[in-house]
Amino acid sequence: MAAVTSRRIQPPAPLRILTAVPLCDGHDSAITTINLELARHGLEVIYLGYHQSASAIVRAAIQEDTDAIGLSSYNGGHLVFFKEVVDQLRRSGNSDIDVFGGGGGTITLADARQMRRLGTARIFFAGTPLDTIVSEIKRDFARVTKPNARFRGDRALARAITLAESGRATRHSSLVTPRKNAARSLVVGIAGPGGAGKSTLIDELALRFLRANSTGRIAILANDPSHPGTGGAILGDRVSAIYAQDDRAFFRSLATRGSLTGLSAAAPAAIDILKRSGAFDLILVESVGVGQESDPFGSFGHRTPLVDAVLFVLAPHYGGRVQLQKIALLSGADFVALNKCDHPMAHTARAEIQACLDQNGQGQRLHATTAAQHSDPGVNQLYDAIQSLAKGGTP
């Protein structure tokens, strides 16, 4: 079987494009249409959101190892802004990432000429049909993903993960040089049903990590589903990650590409790459929204767990006590968080989940959180509990 697998030709990995709207610009109508069209044609779109600085865009493109960056600018200042993005890519040794964009009529022909001279690969003018935009992006920005020894820092990590995604992880793991005297990373898997507020909770945990540690880094692996039909995906977790947009946070979005385990098939390799880099004190791995039987991190059975601890997050709308008892991870998780505790149903939910955890008899503690609330004390407690685990404590 192994021989057959190794000879099998890998299907080409989907093109990965980072899209964003520049700083001080909230016009996201065009870009959301483009995002949908690109995903519909099988591309993976990592959407960063509107009002994004050049440095945030470049950081994200590096960490996501994207083939290109697409910028949609409708508020003027595009000459300066596009140049800043291109220059930052060059200065950081990542000029292989192309920059393209559009701005309806606000980007004139003369502007586009000047932008091209200054390094922007392509401007799409007002009235360009969507199909043309998609096919030209596919034609012009597809690259062969190869190991590149010149890559440094986050880009080297990111490329190693990209290679893992295309099924070539083990051969190129040497790309990432382990840091000397590296601290051991604590890896926490975070699972829960869709809409429980996992992404917000993760970002709030990242904020607390960054505030509590003046040095040290955190990594976040955000798994999101690929569309089963088109193979494309809109990976939008970065949009709401407002605090994890920091040079001390490494954020990588992984599309599941057909894997139905709740994680990308490359997630184990990606975790391994991040751990071996020795750069991260804390690694948070977010699964896709999971169901009752899901076990994305191998908490049950004979597999070696992928992570050191599992945090299970749910919101008060789980559908009543009977449903609770069917959720496997509620007994497998090390931490359980009931999020959205500002909801009127939270009081009952809290009692029901507590009863369930008591029945488990594993000493699991229930954390009542409202991640959407600034400085939520419940999130503080959860963060402290995770930290005490890093120091060798118990959940």
């Binding site: 996201d28 959301t32 600085s53 508020n75 003027g76 300066v80 309806g104 709401s240």
Partner: protein
Amino acid sequence: MSSLGKIADSVDAYNRHVAAEVARARTDAAFAAELRVRWAALRASVDWTTSPTGTPLPRLALPDTDEPGAIAAYLLGQGLPGEFPYANAAYREMYLDRETAAAPATAAVNEEPMRLFAGLGLAEDTNARFRYLSRHQKSLRLSTAFDGPTLYGLDSDHEGVLGKIGEGGVAIDTVEDMTRLFAGFDLTRPDASVSMTMNAPAPVILAMFVASAKRRFGPACVPQLRGTIQADMLKEVQAQNEVIFPVDASLRFLCDMIEWCVPHMPRWYPVSISGYHIAEAGATPVQQAAFTLSNGFTYAELLRARGADVNQFGPRLSFFFDCGLDVEYLVLGRVCRRLWAIGMRDVFGAGPKAQILKLHTQTSGRSLVAAEFQNNLTRTAVELLLAYLNATNSCHSNSADEPFTTPTERYALLASHAQSIILEESGLFKHTMNLLGGAPGLLALERAVEQGILDVFREMDTLGGVLAAMEQRYQRSKIQEAGHAYERQINAGTRPIIGLNKYVSAEAHPNVPLARTPPAKQRLQVERLRAFKRKHAKKAPDALQRLENVTRTGGNVFAELVNTVEVCSLGQITASLTNVVGKFRPMV
């Protein structure tokens, strides 16, 4: 049930009431007689005028009927202009020519609706544009567009914003910029009115406006200041994306400002509940109306929950709609006035002044295209006509060059003249109120649009109301979905856009003059800001500390901001407020 469900039910109940009264008029002889007497008196009260070509015309057109059922249907179903439920107009005479009026007009109603939005470069550049635009205006109308950094509460020296300074609007960092912006204009004139398209930092910007006016005209001027600040945070979260603070904090800052303005600035509209950006982001006309009205009712609920009196704050709420070329726009203002009046009266217990939806309209920016852009003049003219047929209280017309640039002088002037041509040159709106109200096509559209809006109300009600729906990103999804449908219609050619996907000619990239801010000016703004910060370096920290304390302890943030802006910049204040309340987490 959230109040949206109650409002939808109250509209149904009102419609049943109208139907019952119509039936009674036809069966109850005493009621029929009463209606006939009222109708005769009404007809007798109508003044007459003469067109320039000598045709005699009534200043108010009434349905040509004596049938009691039809009279009841008109009076209760639509209402006379200026009477409940206000379908025809908020006021009796609107744009009618005063010179030919029998009775002398009062100053308050004798103002032109034109209100041209302007903002570019630094404060003095916008000031010059204001002077240019106001040359021919009877009353003083200054409507301000701000640049990106100001809209996001950032200072001009913030990292990465240099290229954005003065682009798409004016750069305002400090109270001194605000003084430069309106220099030479007497803001205390009874017919002066200033509007500011400003949202998340609206409390800071309005505080700068107040502080600057006090410096120029003395502390007693505050109650005289008249105008509107947009400050509609719900539509920002749903569509326009200029949000800085978390939703709860944003709404609290807004309500603090409204509560301060109601007693202190009785002529000021502290919020302009806006559908414009909802429509520009993709919403259909029905969605625009439904989301905007529901946002308005939500503000009413929030203020009421804080103990404010609906009859105090209600008259200070104003609205702002987009007007495009889709047929629903023929009646959108009419339907919205009616629904607002019924909801405010029957669910919120509002008196007449708080029932009236006062409407600003802007022609659709999205409908303007780069291809053969001079066609945009025609598009805007048609949209203006629709806006006036809806009896909008004020109106902005877009410039034809807007697909490319902040309007240049030439196209801004053409846009302004388009309004004058419709209102002053043409006789359409000069002589007779109720030109088309009650026409079969309008009634059919009104019914369909009203039903569409109530359906959206009921759907949002099942989601728990506006705020709960927003958390589930219901409005955003619906707006985005409609936006995609619009783009796909254009792509497929099923939505004809002349010059773009139909009757296309060769002209690919027109050479249009651009209004852009030169880098030297952008650097000048940064220097001015730094000088201000140096000047106030000693006082600023204490002022910011006081602001943070008020924010933390639940005091009225706006009342404190009026002091803070004396020594602090917009960016310093934004950072300080963020310290206390955190940042907004965007939704996809």
